[in-house]
Amino acid sequence: MNPLLQQFIQEARDLLQDISTHLLALEDQPDSSALMTELFRQVHTLKGNSGLFDFPEMTRVLHAGEDLMDAVREGRVRYSRQLADPLLDAMDFVAMLIDRIEPGGSYDAGYAAAAEGFARNLRALLPEPTVQPEQFAETVRPDPVAIVLPALTGVPEAARMAAWRAAESGKPLFMLGYRPDDDCFYRGEDPFHQTRQVPELLWGTAVARQAWPPLAELDCYRCQVDFYLLTSASRTALQEHFRYTPEQIRLEPVEPLSLIVPTGHLNGGPVYRDFVAEALELLDAQDREGLELLIRTLLDLSSPDLWLASDLRWLLVVLETRPEEEALLRRLIEALNSLTGPDLSDLSASASLAAVAALPEALPPSGSIERGQVESVLATQLEILALPDQGAWLEGRIKSVAVTVKACLGSLGEPAAELDAALAASLTSRSAQPLRHWLHARLQGGEAPGVEPPPVQAAPVCEPVAAAQPVPGEAMPEGIRRDTEDTRPSHGRDDLQPGKILKVDQARIDRLMNLIGEMVVAKNGLPYLANRAENQYGVRELAREIKAQYAVINRIAEEMQDAIMQVRMMPVSFIFKRFPRLVRDLARKLGKEVELALEGEDTEADKNIIESLADPLIHIVRNSMDHGLETPAVRQAAGKPVTGHLLIRALQESDRVLIEISDDGQGIDPALIKRKAYGKGLIDEAQLERISDQEAINLIFTPGFSTADAVTDLSGRGVGMDVVRNAIDRVGGTIELASHPGRGTTLRLSLPLSMAVTHVMIIESNRQIFGVPMDLIVETVRLPQTAIHTIKQRKTTVLRDQLIPLLALNELLAMDAAPLANADGELATLVVRVGNEPVGLVVDEFHEVVDVILKPLPGELARLGCYAGSALLGDGSVLMILNPRELL
């Protein structure tokens, strides 16, 4: 006999002995809570043990006993003689069942009624029904895969009979549900083909997940069907067959007896009663041949569609395969009396015990981990961390959660980056919160944002083809802390599965970008159309509908644009990686010793921003190497380490990318700068006296300024920091400089994350329209002639106590026309902020604000500094966007 069953029988006898001893002892000490608790535990244990096997009658009685003892233990029921007797009777019944089990591993059918009687007697002693409906509800555990397998009655009889025969020949039976991914067609999958190839298929069907939409609305490229099938293949074979999509299938073993469900039209009559009596006689007489003949005779006379015929066919199958199953045959015959059932549930004990008892040899449990289980365990850890931070064991609890989380993520093949840091933070603060926040973020985003910023972009990597080519001859110089080749764009996103990263040709992304640009333009045409519908054709209703439609398209276009922007994001490592080589070569040339450190290479920004950074950054680094960092001799003399340090780091701060370039060189001497600036006529004597050190340092951004005594071939080239500033300005960035003489210089660039849509105001001047970026506009005012004063031949006005110089746009664009005043004699003036000073730009008229995608001017036109670029308008015309910085 199976050792587990042997163990069960032995322990059951011991427990039954203990239970009766305790029951008797309680008669003497009816108030002993220790005895009651022990009694409860014994009944509870016995019930739990019986639940491991398929002995439903035994479990039913013990469950009732457990509930009663629980009530006694909790004082809801008082222990009494009236209680002891039915309990002792019930335990005797259980002991009798155990005796029956011992020889053959099971007991005969037919104890269901008796078991129900004992259970009812015990429950009658309870004050109220203890089994509450919600308890049932909770024991129904959600399926890992939300596939509800169909009832076996949905499977045609012929397939079920084939399954029965397969089971009789010793094969396993499984019902399999398969829910392919919605987008599996795009990956070249054909789930129907996959399903048709399932080994030992007995039956299969495809079923719609939801009611079908009208054909016109069907998305035929999204998989919307599930497959159900019945197979006699082994679990291993099925898992092997679906090895690439294990999370999409659900496998349930099928109990062979459950296949026997007669189906068909109900139609009764006395002839069947005669048949039942006759058949039972033959069964009792063990005349199987006579019985078969009788069944066949009736079957020939009956329509095959009848329930009766179905039952008869099953009788024949059972007679052929299991002639010794008398109980089963009897139930099938008796079912003809009622044309319902037969209820075979109690018979399953003997049939299925074999499978349980033979465990794990006969049916090795696969125990493969399903995605749903991982999510469930991880969600539980979050729940645990949310508990109050109490108890001396809090620390151990937190640690165990960390171990559990690490194991779960490991099972998914995902790294647990920063987990240790979060755990350490939790242990130090004796609070689960840091770990909880980390796990929460991890589960939310599917990515692990660090305990510290920067957050990592979840967008797929857009690695321009050019970036994938290594820099020729790149060799890592000594003293460089990090190898930038390691920080290729895929760095820091190991948790994305390799298959999910798409390498896309840059041209394709650019095309998308252009298309969305056109889309925005086309979309902007709708308000024009609405206006024409209303004003020109007088159909106000249509105009309103167009506007409503416009709002929808507008929203989609914005989201689309955002999505494309995300794709365009790329890490700064794209430009950072050239610095190790550059710094090494420069250092060698200059006879300096420099150690370069790079940080935050994973920080991402729009491709255009990143690309626009390349030249300015090189210039800054050259400056730093050339003017900032000293030669080893000078450093030694100044008491500094011989090796200079240069740090380039990137980080994200809300919607900006910050890039810091700092060195520990000699810094910038404000006095020296002032003298140079004065010498070059950039500042006058008064300014020389007045300006602060910071203002003096900022003078290096003035066009035509160069501090090097000798123009070296490195940082010379006739360009200065003004070029750097302009380049940063052009992409909407700012630059700050901080310097400490003798200690070093830090340059801080702040750039937008993306070149999203630009809001521009349309203005009109000399019958032409122009766009002005909204972020530069402070306000729009209409100035009466009286508010305009001429000071030193320059027109000015005073706004809120501030003197504002006025410039006419026509004049700036070399157009020979005076500004047009409106009917009240007022001049339309756009107050823009350039640098720190507000300036009034006098135009003819203001128009609406529109969203445009700014395109740089092509070729030679790009040199026209007064324009930031051009944009297409909704009516198809081209709008030139002014660049007030250059213009003024």
Binding site: P156, P180, F185, D190, P191, F192, H193, R196, L201, W203, G204, T205, A206, V207, A208, W212, P213, L215, A216, L218, C220, Y221, C223, Q224, V225
Partner: protein, 78 residues
């Protein structure tokens, strides 16, 4: 093409691939009473299968290939 559309009949033959799903869907839309002849069909891609399911059509002529015939009977029969 493995689907031949002629008058009121669409004949599917051989292996019907995912690329045929859209044309099949369009044809069924424009021919609600169209006849489907699958006698020479050996397999159809899931995308095409679900088009037939969504259109709730029962092929006028089922496939000769026995296993596909059983699958379609199980799936498309009301």
């Amino acid at each position: 093409m493995t689907i031949e559309y002629r008058d009121n009949t669409a004949s599917l033959s051989g292996f019907i691939s995912v690329e045929d799903a859209e044309s099949l869907m369009e044809w069924l839309r424009s021919h609600p009473d169209g006849r489907l002849d699958l006698s020479a069909c050996s397999h159809l891609h899931t995308a095409c299968l679900q088009v037939l399911m969504a259109a709730s059509v029962n092929p006028a002529t089922g496939p000769q290939e026995p296993s596909l015939a059983v699958w379609l009977r199980n799936t498309l029969s009301p």
